[in-house]
Symmetry: C2
């Protein structure tokens, strides 16, 4: 067992996976989490307690730590986005090829499974209800508050896996030259539950991500393994504020989401209205992620992003896998691994943040346009013809491990080609039309 | 006297000016500063202890609080940048019209004068050696550490005037939806003193800002009222690192700044070399600046910028003046004033940060180009012809109170016109040349 004491702040999904990978390296690992142990006491219902989508990057990490099979019963495969029009018509937009899917996964169940896997290591200990109150990353001295008492901890290496509002990142900002960009989008979201049917079945087709794109706002609905669904409504803060009463909310649903109103139920919608405090969404890009062999931030702490590409957890898991490979290469030399981690992760972390912003636009607005749908069809045809050389953006992100910044570059390049093809196609059509008109005119002339 | 207790964190230049303006409103003001009182114990020599340049925005604020005359003996007027070429030739670039100047001012002296002015108010108290250790901006509870003891303070309104590494800004980031962009440039700086001559005189012409622009690095030298000078050398961190020994530093000066080497003295340069730890420079843009009538950040805490436009302190003083006007308009309603302050200050604070980045490029590189000098001449001619409608960027920033974002817009617009004039001028010259050649040829032909 190594003498090094590794402290991980945050026992969420990324923190726990990171702890497992580090414990497998025979390091002494302590994980400190400010909340209660969710296995003993389920967190209060509300935000961020619902499901997430795992794609191949996230699943690869779960396979590596041997928990992929355990989570399988709590996952629902989703093959397509099902677009719901205002008039009730629906049409699917497949994520990739028709047999490819992403996995809607219960967040808390996955956290439970990872925590159980973590605690099997004798060299790994989890401490709950320990809130970080102060830390000096350069000396490794940390102070936590546990049930009103101060707990002092001495760490050799500190990991900040403490989410978008990371205390470790704020500490790094104080003691290192960290570039940071933190931007809140002017949109917030609320969540609404959809119950099972009376026959104990799913109220909607579960193998789709249901999507109500309304240009300036957007509603999503994903299935849970227990046959319920979760709806998330994303709107501008001022749109939320413009709904003053339950009646306003019902009228709003009747106008924009009539089929969803039937799913949620008018009574439930009314009773949920007083709890509609839209939750903000932030994009955080920063760099570097480390302090000289002493501390590293990963996951949302390093790159918080919008939820629209389902890459928050997937990219966080990929962070852990990258660090693991770098520690292999550098033979557990944290200074060298951290330095290389920061150097090569920046472009990808920044790119995935940009891609989620793009995908928000695509999901709420672009999918409503005919040009987008035409381009999407062309995109899929080119992928079928050139499966390795032409991969649609979503497929690159969800079904490959191509680096995010390469995904972004290839998307831009492919977009230019798609635009060229469309322009050339339109020009050709126009040419054919003119030729036909002339031909008809000449024939008609000769006929007379 | 109002019941409201105003707490200002930071007794630097902006904090002290802010305190005076608030004390004049009959509010109870407490200023907490982590450092010792610089009037009793001068701060250790080193960074940020030297001079700054006050322009009309800053001087307007000092006039308003009645200390402009007191600082006058400690100021040196500067009328132009004096560009030093490698071969020793020099040429001036005037800041505006030949009679316009900015004021090189001793930072600590100004701070002393402001602190003395502040402490004349019976409703204003300054507490030194009080380091903020924790705060809750929403409840106004602050905790300071003073000589090893905790001091708890209850505030109604908290001002963060605590500089670029503001603790109050970090607290705001935790409890409000603040957009933040923090970027370190890859350049650092060191300072070097220049002594008086043996005749007790200035070693250089004091009424110029001396400038050694060397494309990728830059040296500045400004006069102090006591007839010494301060040199600041700005270079990439890797350029600093490439100078490994005293000899390297001397060789570097011989090659790039031979006349400055004579000023500093080879012996002094060698003895200063071990202390060459380049200080980083950061640009911080954020928004909003307030929490609902409870807290506001101003000065470097809200908009840290590069020092190349001399607007750090000037813009901070302008912040105080703006707040003062808004409190007049809103009759001391802090919630309304803060909200309007954030709304209207953002564009200006972001613009001045951008302008300092541009000015860094201008000072280290553009001034070396012939096109820039030609444009600058043209800029001045147009200003002479249209004094109110055409104002060069530097003059707008330094000699007017035109809002920074308008300065930026007008600069871009004027630049486009200058470029057009240069292109048209070149085309006209070319046309004249061709016409002359043809005329000469025709005359020559006829002659024969």
């Amino acid at each position: 067992m190594s003498e090094k004491h590794i402290v991980i702040v945050g026992a969420g999904l990324v923190g726990t996976l990171n702890a497992i990978l580090l414990a497998k390296r025979n390091l002494t690992v302590s994980v400190y989490e400010k909340r209660r142990d969710l296995r003993r006491e389920p967190p209060p219902s509300g935000r961020r307690t619902t499901n997430l989508a795992l794609t191949s990057r996230g699943m690869a990490a779960l396979k590596q730590v041997g928990v992929a099979e355990q989570i399988a019963p709590y996952q629902v495969a989703m093959f397509a986005r099902m677009v719901h029009e205002v008039d009730g018509t629906m049409h699917p937009l497949y994520y990739g090829r028709k047999e490819q899917f992403i996995l809607s996964t219960q967040r808390n169940k996955l956290n439970e499974i990872l925590l159980n896997a973590a605690e099997k290591f004798p060299n790994l200990t989890c401490f709950f209800e320990h809130k970080l109150t102060s830390c000096s990353l350069k000396t490794g001295q940390l102070e936590f508050l546990h049930k009103g008492k101060k707990v002092r901890v001495q760490a050799d290496v500190v990991f900040g896996n403490d989410g978008a509002h990371s205390t470790i990142r704020l500490e790094m900002m104080k003691c290192s030259l960290m570039d940071v960009q933190q931007i809140y989008v002017p949109y917030g979201y609320i969540e609404l539950p959809v119950a099972k049917t009376k026959n104990n079945d799913f109220a909607l087709e579960p193998q789709h991500l249901h999507l109500w794109p309304r240009d300036d706002f957007l509603m999503l609905c994903t299935a849970n393994w227990d046959r319920t669904f979760n709806i998330a409504l994303f709107m501008r803060f001022e749109t939320f504020s413009s709904l003053k009463t339950e009646d306003d909310a019902v009228e709003f649903f009747k106008k924009h989401f009539p089929d969803a109103l039937a799913l949620v139920g008018e009574k439930n919608l009314r009773s949920s209205f007083p709890t509609w405090y839209p939750y903000p969404m932030v994009t955080i890009k920063c760099s570097p992620y480390h302090i000289e062999g002493k501390a590293l931030i990963m996951g949302d702490a390093a790159h918080a992003m919008l939820p629209f590409l389902a890459q928050g957890v997937n990219s966080g898991f990929e962070d852990c896998m990258l660090l693991n490979s770098l520690l292999d290469i550098h033979k557990d030399n944290f200074a060298a691994a951290f330095s290389e981690y920061s150097r090569c992760r920046k472009a990808d972390a920044h790119a995935v943040c940009d891609l989620t912003l793009y995908n928000f636009l695509e999901m709420r607005q672009l999918v409503n346009t005919k040009t987008f749908r035409l381009k999407k069809k062309l995109d899929n045809i080119l992928h079928a013809i050139l499966p390795n050389n032409w991969i649609p953006l979503y497929s690159m992100v969800a079904f490959t491990d191509i680096r995010y910044h390469i995904c972004k570059q290839r998307k831009q390049y492919q977009d230019q080609i798609l635009n060229c093809i469309l322009v050339l196609g339109a020009a050709l059509l126009f040419f054919l039309l003119i030729t036909t008109v002339i031909w008809v005119y000449v024939s008609w002339d000769r006929h007379w």
